[in-house]
Each structure stands twice: as C-alpha cells, then as structure tokens.
C-alpha cells in the first residue's frame, strides 16, 4: 500500500467530522482531504490527494505558514492559526461569496514509517461566531454613539439652562430697577418697606421713611425739554444715593418723586440724613449744556416708633402727609408731622408739585 491508500484507510473516520480536515506529508503533498473540505472548497478529493497542496493553495508556502507547518513535520507541538490573525487557511467561500472565517489547529500525527510526522489540519468554521462578534461590536458602537450624542444633547441643555438662568437674573434685576436712574422701582421699594418694617417691628427697632419730591419740576421739563428733565432726575438719584448710607434703600417712587427707607434709624437720625439730602440738592449746580439750574426738593419724614405704627403702608402714608405739608409750607423744606396732628391732617391730593 502506498501512502495515499494507507491514509485513505487510516483517516476515513475524518469524513464524518463536521470540520474541515486534511493531512499533509513532509513534502506538502496532500494525503487526505475530507468530505467537509470537498463541500467547502468544491475541490474533490481525487483532484487534490497525491498532489502538492501549494499547487492549489500557494499561500501555504509563504513563511508565515510554511515555517510553522514545518515544525509539525518535526513532531512539534500543535500550532494554532486564529481567525483574528489569519481569517482563513483554506479559502472556502460561502454561497454569498464571502469566505468562511476559520480557526485552524495543526497537529503532528505519527507517519507509518520514517522519522517525520504528518501534519493534520483541523479547520473550524467560525464565521457565525465572527459575525456574532461583529454584530455585537456594531451594536456596541451604536450604543456608544448614542450615548455620546445623548451626552452632547445634555451638555447643550445644561448650557442653555445656564444661559436662561443668566437671562432670568438680568430680567429680575430689570424688574426691580427703574430704567432711567438705576434706582429701585416703586414696586420693589414697597416690597422692601414691607419686609424691613415687619423685621423692625419684631426686633423693636425704629425705621424711617423719606418721601422726596422735586419742586417745580414741571417747569424744568417745559423750559429745557425732557432730556434735561431726565438729566436732573439722574443727577438727583446719584445725589440722594451718595447722601445716604449703604444700608438705606433709595427708590424712584414716581415721576419726580423719590423714596428712601432708613432701617434702624430713629426720628433724630432720619432728620439729619433728610436735611443733608435736601441741602445737597439745593446747593448742587445742575449743568445741562449751556444751562445751569438750581433745583430744590420737599421732603416728608415719618418713622415707625414716633408714630407708633404697626402697618407698613401707614409709614408711607405719614411720610406722604408730611410731604404734602412741606409743599404747602413753601417747598424746599423737610417736614415731620407729629402724631398729634394726625386728626387735622388729611390725606394729600395728587399732583401738588
């Protein structure tokens, strides 16, 4: 029996294996080619057994295969060709034309005579596994991409929220300020008055309120125009702001009316500050273009303790009455109405500047 007949007999059982198997002799002549490989490659056993495998698959002669296969002929340890590093050892197309991915192990099997061994190739089709891995990888990539996008969207949202916060702050700031003078507006002043008044009540402290109205302001507007009027209002705002303390709250109360809230300040203290405000305005020279104007202000003063008040609006009402009296008494003055005069005082009518 020659090597081929012997091999056909000896390796016949490999025809039943669901893996591709073939046997090589030391000279790379194919001794056996199993049915599975026939099916995979379309090469029938008769065509390949007895011939050098390099005639069919020249790549096996390149160093990366040949030197490792040579080790097997010498009886060396099994050698692995993974699908990751080689894709395939024996090209075996699938119906779609793609090649099967293969995991190949080559082992030495004793040759009947002589010293060298045969090399037995066992080739597993790992296409489905490889595809599963590939699918898994794609799915993973997709998830990662989605996560990345979601993260980005979230970051954008956060940035927007941050922007919104800033805008809100600006709006809020605007909603409590008077656009022309930058002082607090009427509404905010009222809120602060309410809060500070109650706080003062609870702590048993005094709190004073000044209402200030510019005298003959209408004439300023009429004679010099509204821009000049605006200029005067701004100047007065700055003057008042500078004349009071950091903790005092200054607001533009109406057209040419200003309000100052003096927390923790009694009648005497408030008088000093109010008089200071009045005189600062009186002595200030308002220079608008070529014109130089003198302006004066009437001020009404009230305090919580001196009037024994328990409601925040009453403080304003008393200051307003005092202001009305100041106007009536000839303007450019500070008036405090003692509570004794409450009975004879009437609420001021509007538009008495």
């Amino acid at each position: 029996m020659n090597d081929f007949d012997q091999a056909a007999h000896r390796f016949a059982i490999l025809d039943h294996a669901p893996i591709g198997q073939f046997i090589l002799r030391k000279d790379f002549v194919t001794l056996f080619w199993n049915r599975c490989l026939e099916a995979w490659t379309g090469i029938p056993r008769e065509k390949i057994v007895g011939s050098c495998i390099l005639g069919h698959f020249p790549h096996l002669g390149t160093a990366k295969y040949a030197s490792r296969i040579a080790g097997i002929f010498g009886g060396g340890p099994p050698t692995v060709f993974s699908s990751q590093l080689h894709k395939y050892v024996i090209p075996a197309p699938l119906p779609g034309g793609k090649q099967r991915f293969q995991y190949t192990v080559v082992t030495a099997v004793p040759a009947p005579a002589g010293e060298s061994c045969y090399a037995m190739f066992a080739i597993q089709d790992v296409t489905s596994l490889t595809e599963a891995i590939e699918n898994h990888r794609c799915a993973l990539q997709q998830v990662l991409t989605e996560m990345e996008e979601r993260k980005k969207a979230q970051a954008e949202l956060l940035a927007n929220a941050e922007e919104l916060k800033k805008l809100n702050l600006i709006l809020e700031e605007r909603s409590i300020r008077d656009g022309l003078t930058g002082l607090f507006n009427h509404r905010h002043f009222y809120d602060v008055l309410h809060r500070d008044f109650l706080l003062a009540s609870r702590n048993g402290q005094d709190i004073a309120c000044l209402l200030l109205d510019l005298d003959y302001f209408k004439q300023v507007n009429d004679s010099y125009g509204h821009p000049c009027g605006d200029f005067v209002l701004k100047e007065v705002a700055a003057l008042v702001r500078r004349s009071v303390r950091e903790t005092d709250v200054v607001a533009r109360y109406g057209g040419e009316e200003f309000a100052v809230l003096l927390p923790d300040t009694n009648l005497e203290g408030a008088r000093v500050i109010a008089e200071q405000v009045r005189s600062v305005i009186e002595t200030h020279l308002f220079c608008f273009g070529p014109a130089t104007l003198n302006i004066s202000a009437s001020i009404g003063l009230a305090t919580r303790l001196s009037h024994r008040l328990s409601h925040p609006p009453d403080l304003l009402a008393w200051a307003d009455r005092a202001l009305y009296r100041a106007k009536g008494d000839g303007r450019n003055r500070l008036v405090y109405l003692p509570p004794a005069e409450a009975g004879i005082s009437r609420l001021p009518a509007a538009g008495t500047s």
Partner: protein, 205 residues
C-alpha cells in the same frame, strides 16, 4: 524536592529558553505586519507552593492564559499568562483594534491563543529538539481566571517545579509583559536537568 541545578545546567536552560523565544519572535514577525521584538528579562525557578510569593503579584486578579500540556520525556504543562490590561494591549497592537473597546475581549481569545501557542511551542519545542527528547502535546487552550486556579495541577499538590520565564513584547511603541510558566511534574524537572547534564558531558570530556 528538586535538586538545586548547577550553574552549568542553569546556563544551558537559559540558553534554550532564549533560543526558543528568538524562534517565536521570528515566527511572529513572519506572520504579523508590525515588527515585534521579544526579550527575556529574567528566568526564575521555584516550587509551586511558593507561587504566591511570585513578585509579579497577580494575586486574585483575573488573568488571560494560554495553556498546553506536554508529556513524554518530560511531563508537565506550559502556560503563557498575561494580566488583562497587558493582554488587551498586546491584542490591540497585533490586530489594530482600539485597546479601549470592550468588544476587544471577543477577538482576544483567538489572537492570544495563537500568539501564546507560538511562544510556548517555540520554547518547549526548542528544549525538546536540542535535547533530542520527544514530547507529546495537548491542544492549546485559552482560559481566563485566577492564576492559582488556572495553574493548579490538582492532586500533584505543591511539589512541582515552576520555571517562570518573563517575556517582554515590543510591538510598535508598545511594551507588553507576559509570563511563561513551565510547570514540571514531580521528578521531571530533575529529568530535564539530567538531560542537560548529558548534553554537556561530551563537551567537557
């Protein structure tokens, strides 16, 4: 217990290992597009029971391992062991995958199996060839787990001799450490030493 090897025996053993690793490097370079360098920084011998004192300190970490049993002139097993990070780095360098990709695990097994197979084969193949002592080999097997469990020979107990060959792979600009454990069953390390001694005799005679 093994008998302590002589300097001559150790020198020959180191030489065999170096030749084997050199062959492995040549085989890898034939196969891969990127140039790969292999070095053996150190070789140490110890009893299996002292595995825990291994300065590598794998501890309880999960390692990647390619294993192969051999029997015949010498009985034992060989394993190439990588800490997971190193395994990923090496596979990434060899396959061009991104080392941070979790799916790397999937391609790791096959690649490491082949690389480990080449390296182990070259080392024990060289020992067998040079000493003219034939072995039989089991199929290579890729496993992951704790080092002690993976290498544990079971009933044989602790009285095994371990030859630890540290290897350093350099691929492109990356450097990866891997360890080859050659574990000899009782008596077979001594047999190896005797074979080496025999090899030396004619020269010294």
């Amino acid at each position: 217990m093994m008998t302590a090897p002589t300097d001559f025996q150790l020198d020959v053993l180191k030489e065999l290992v170096n030749v084997g690793v050199g062959k492995a490097a040549a085989a890898l370079n034939e196969m891969l597009e990127s140039h790969i360098e292999l070095e053996v920084p150190s070789i140490t011998l110890f009893q299996f029971e002292n595995l825990k004192e291994d300065p590598e300190g794998f501890g309880d970490a999960v390692v990647s391992c390619v294993q192969l049993r051999f029997h015949g002139s010498f009985n034992g097993s060989a394993a190439l062991v990588f800490p997971p990070r190193s395994a990923a780095k090496l596979v990434a360098a060899l396959t061009g995958e991104d080392p941070e990709t979790p799916s790397l695990n999937a391609v790791m097994a096959g690649t490491l199996n082949e690389v480990g197979n080449i390296l182990i084969n070259a080392v024990i193949g060289t020992i067998g060839n040079m000493l003219a002592k034939p072995f039989d080999f089991s199929l290579p097997n890729y496993v992951e787990g704790r080092l002690e469990e993976l290498l544990n020979p079971g009933e044989q107990g602790a009285d095994l001799t371990v030859l630890l060959i540290r290897t350093r792979f350099r691929v492109q600009d990356r450097q990866v450490e891997g360890n080859i454990f050659l574990i000899f069953e009782i008596g077979f390390f001594d047999a190896l030493m005797t074979a080496i001694e025999d090899l030396g005799l004619p020269c010294r005679a």
